[in-house]
């Protein structure tokens, strides 16, 4: 079991502290009532496909988890608990997982949940025809599976992969009806059939997804507050891309709750006695600007450290989030199991140090604009971005650019045509690139920094910093097969703070605001997104 007591505790406190507000405050009664329609205003990341295995959108899980249950449940304390699997055993070499499946589970089309169904789902994730942008790579070590009996499946991996259970808890790997996968796989995107507490009803593209209650449901996760069918009769997720509009829809009572509450409105939400607020930090890699370590100027670790020291992250993040976001302390967020507590506070804003580091690196001369020179070459870094670069990230980019300029580093933000952008990202023709990676395991460090994950023409990888460090590679590889990877992840994070392959900015939160008549709204902790099984309307 991948579990680290400290981080698990932190996550538990965080989620419990915020979650309890939803249960007890306001309203007239604490006895759940059945019925009603809940409308959630979601941001604009509408998935192009509602097959859990067929999308990588940040709104994937919120739209598919109502329909599709997962094999296991990742709990707020970082432990893995039974859900559609009653129990499991892992062989000593870490290569064989034997799942005992829950009995009596039925999909919405009547198909039965059994070992064959699980196997069919694994095959579907992996089938190139699914065009899976995410699930396939999360189960990449999956080799094959053997049906032992009706409710037992033996899964074989090609290499030890401890995070297997963690990722299986994410909504992207939810279980779809084997009947639908076999008979009409082309319909899954538009009309997914699962075994979840809600039955998919209708998807009005560009507008909303609606669901109705599954009256037969009786197989919720163990940590749920109740058993049996969901309380809500209907559920509607409405896509409201504009931040100002989404918040206004909540304030005007057009929707019951909104996801991704704009940071500029959080103060208003907290000050409003009729509104509640629920947030969780997404486990995984913080929102960062990655530095291309494979070419000048960032192939020199001193230049990377100089930029990190030059940027006043506290002030930038406070400004762009109106004081709402937590500045990243390292290369995984504080809610990630395996987060190295002891390293927090290591990164400091220190302009003098930044200048000193650049002097040491030989960038001593300055041109007439104040940009540093070495051997007649300007200290320039290129930051190509897409046309639809998120506005908030643009703010960070612009303020980072200003901070870098102060120490004589010229960051040039470019907007090349999309095709050129893709080519350049494949070839590694950039100095900065941005993003985050949300996943419930510190294996995110392997995804982002293993030298195996540097993009080649054949293989797309996430090591966009193009970092090649033998020591780090060993640590991360070992952590994938270790019984208890805690110490290995601690060392890996310490090593990354020396290597500085990125400027980590903030731990990305999932802030949800709701009217207080909405009770027991919760998150799926595996990939924090609103979860409606226990939710009811007090009206």
């Amino acid at each position: 079991m991948t579990k680290t007591p400290l981080a698990a505790l932190a996550l538990a406190l965080l989620l419990a502290g915020c979650g309890s507000a939803a249960g007890s405050s306001g309203g007239t009664t604490n006895t759940p009532k059945s019925g009603g329609t809940l409308i959630l205003g979601e941001n604009g990341q509408e998935p192009p496909c509602l097959d859990p295995h067929g999308n990588a959108s940040s709104d994937g899980p919120v739209t598919t988890v109502p329909v599709a249950d997962s094999l296991v449940w990742f709990d707020v304390d970082g432990t893995i608990q039974p859900w559609l699997a009653d129990s499991w055993a892992i062989s000593d070499d870490g290569l064989t997982y034997t799942f005992k499946l829950r009995q009596g589970v039925k999909f919405h089309d009547g198909a039965v949940w059994n070992a064959e169904a699980l196997k069919t789902n694994f095959e579907h994730m992996r089938d190139p025809a699914t065009k899976s942008p995410l699930a396939a790579s999360y189960i990449a070590p999956y080799k094959d599976a053997k049906v032992v009996d009706e409710h037992t499946l033996e899964v074989h991996l090609s290499s030890p992969y401890r995070p297997f259970l963690d990722v299986l808890a994410q909504g992207y790997l939810g279980m779809i009806s084997p009947k639908q996968i076999k008979e009409s796989p082309q319909t899954i995107c538009e009309h997914p059939i699962g075994s979840g507490p809600f039955v998919f009803d209708k998807w009005t593209k560009g507008q909303s997804v609606t669901y109705r209650r599954n009256p037969d449901y009786n197989w919720g996760p163990k940590s749920a507050k109740h058993t049996g069918p969901a309380y809500l009769e209907r559920l509607e997720i409405r896509f409201l891309a504009e931040d100002a509009t989404r918040y206004n829809a909540l304030a005007a009572g057009e929707v019951h709750a909104i996801d991704f509450t704009p940071p500029q409105n959080v103060e208003d939400v907290k000050a409003n006695p009729d509104l509640g607020f629920l947030t969780a930090i997404r486990p995984g890699h913080p929102m960062s600007f990655w530095l291309n370590t494979s070419r000048p100027p960032f192939d020199d670790v001193r230049v990377r450290r100089a930029l990190l020291a030059a940027v006043d992250r506290d002030s930038i993040i406070k400004g762009i989030s109106f004081g709402q976001y937590q500045v990243a302390q390292g290369f995984v967020t504080t809610s990630t199991p395996g987060y190295a507590q002891g390293l927090s506070g290591t990164v400091r804003h220190d302009e003098a140090l930044a200048n000193k580091l650049l002097d040491e690196a030989g960038w001593t001369a300055r041109d007439k604009d104040g940009v540093r020179l070495k051997d007649g070459k300007r200290l320039t870094a290129y930051f190509p971005i897409a046309a639809n670069f998120p506005a908030q990230r643009m703010q960070i980019a612009v303020q980072t650019q200003a901070a870098a300029r102060k120490i004589g580093l010229d960051i040039q933000i470019q907007t090349p045509p999309e095709q050129e952008l893709t080519d350049r990202s494949v070839k590694g023709d950039y100095d900065l690139t941005s993003g985050l990676w949300a996943t419930n395991t510190a294996d995110v460090l392997w995804i982002q920094y293993s030298s195996k994950n540097i993009t080649t023409p054949e293989r797309r990888g996430q090591n966009v910093a193009r970092l090649e460090d033998a020591k780090l590679d060993d640590l991360l590889e070992e952590a994938r097969s270790a019984q208890d990877p805690t110490e290995l992840y601690n060392q890996a994070q310490a090593r990354l703070l020396e290597l500085v392959p990125a400027i980590p900015f903030y731990d990305d939160p999932r802030p949800v605001a709701y009217h207080k008549k909405v009770r027991d709204l919760a998150f799926t902790p595996a990939y924090p997104s609103p979860y409606f099984y226990d939710t009811w309307l007090d009206e």
């Binding site: 100002a244 206004n248 500029q264 762009i320 971005i385 506005a391 200003a402 907007t415 090349p416 952008l421």
Partner: protein, 267 residues
């Protein structure tokens, strides 16, 4: 048209052109100077029109954004004029085949709404100021080609041109001396009005995140960001929009006045 109105519009236009050429005359502040401690501040003595989400001075950004915004309007029309003009001239002077090919092509071009055709160009060529100018310009080529052709045909049949030919003057010289100048003038006047719509279309592209890239200031992209902060910063969403509207009004008023004057004289 009210004379005072026309002069007022011309004055606004002159100020805008001056702001585009020498923005330093109107503001002492740096439009790119970030102040993460003073974001979204309301108008004050230090910042007459307040600050934006990066603590930059909104007035400075509007003044410095004049260049990019005017460039989108004037640049796009220039592209349309040059290419549309050449095609129109060729259609008006060439033989039936040339004329037919060019006119049928312009029929096809006219079938696409301006903004949609511009979006196709951007999908292929990418965003940015230059591509936005190109995109809006290309979308306007067909209508200018038609306009110039109609003018050319009319002039070709005019008595003074026929007289010039009759006098045995060489063809190219007739075209350069007589056809071109007379065809261009009315088209130029109409183009003045076109600058307004092109400017709006260009800033619409920026508004959709496909025009002038940040951090360079441009009115459309300022509004694009401002709309996220409407509830907290009314000044940020108000002033860039006023700037666009005022510019378009001035351009239109001056253009209409020019047209009336030229019609009054020739007609």
């Amino acid at each position: 048209m009210n004379r005072i109105g026309v002069w007022l519009a011309a004055a606004v236009l002159a100020v805008l052109v001056l702001a585009a050429l020498a923005p330093g005359l109107f503001t002492g502040q740096d439009p790119l100077a970030v102040d993460s401690g003073a974001t979204l501040r309301p108008p004050s003595a230090a910042h007459l029109l307040g600050t934006d989400e990066n603590g930059r001075d909104v007035l400075a950004r509007i003044v410095h954004g004049t260049r990019a915004s005017l460039l989108l309007g004037f640049g796009a029309i220039a592209v349309a004029l040059v290419f549309g003009g050449l095609l129109g001239l060729a259609a008006g002077l060439g033989n039936r085949l040339v004329e037919n090919v060019i006119m049928r092509l312009s029929d096809v071009g006219m079938a696409f709404p301006e903004l949609l055709l511009a979006l196709v160009v951007i999908t292929v060529a990418g965003g940015g100021t230059a591509n936005a100018i190109l995109a809006i310009g290309v979308a306007n080529i067909p209508s200018y080609a038609r306009l110039v052709r109609a003018q050319t045909l009319a002039i070709r049949r005019a008595s003074y041109v026929e007289a010039a030919y009759a006098l045995g003057l060489p063809g190219p010289r007739v075209i350069l001396r007589h056809v071109l100048p007379n065809a261009v003038k009315p088209v130029l006047i109409l183009a003045t009005i076109g600058v307004g719509t092109a400017l709006v279309a260009g800033s619409a592209l920026s508004f959709l995140g496909l025009g002038t890239p940040p951090p360079e200031p441009e009115w459309g992209s300022m509004l694009s960001t401002a709309r996220n902060f409407i509830s907290r910063a009314w000044w940020y969403g108000l002033f860039p929009g006023l700037a666009i509207t005022l510019t378009v009004i001035s351009v239109t008023v001056v253009g209409r006045a020019l047209r009336l004057r030229s019609e009054g004289r020739t007609g």
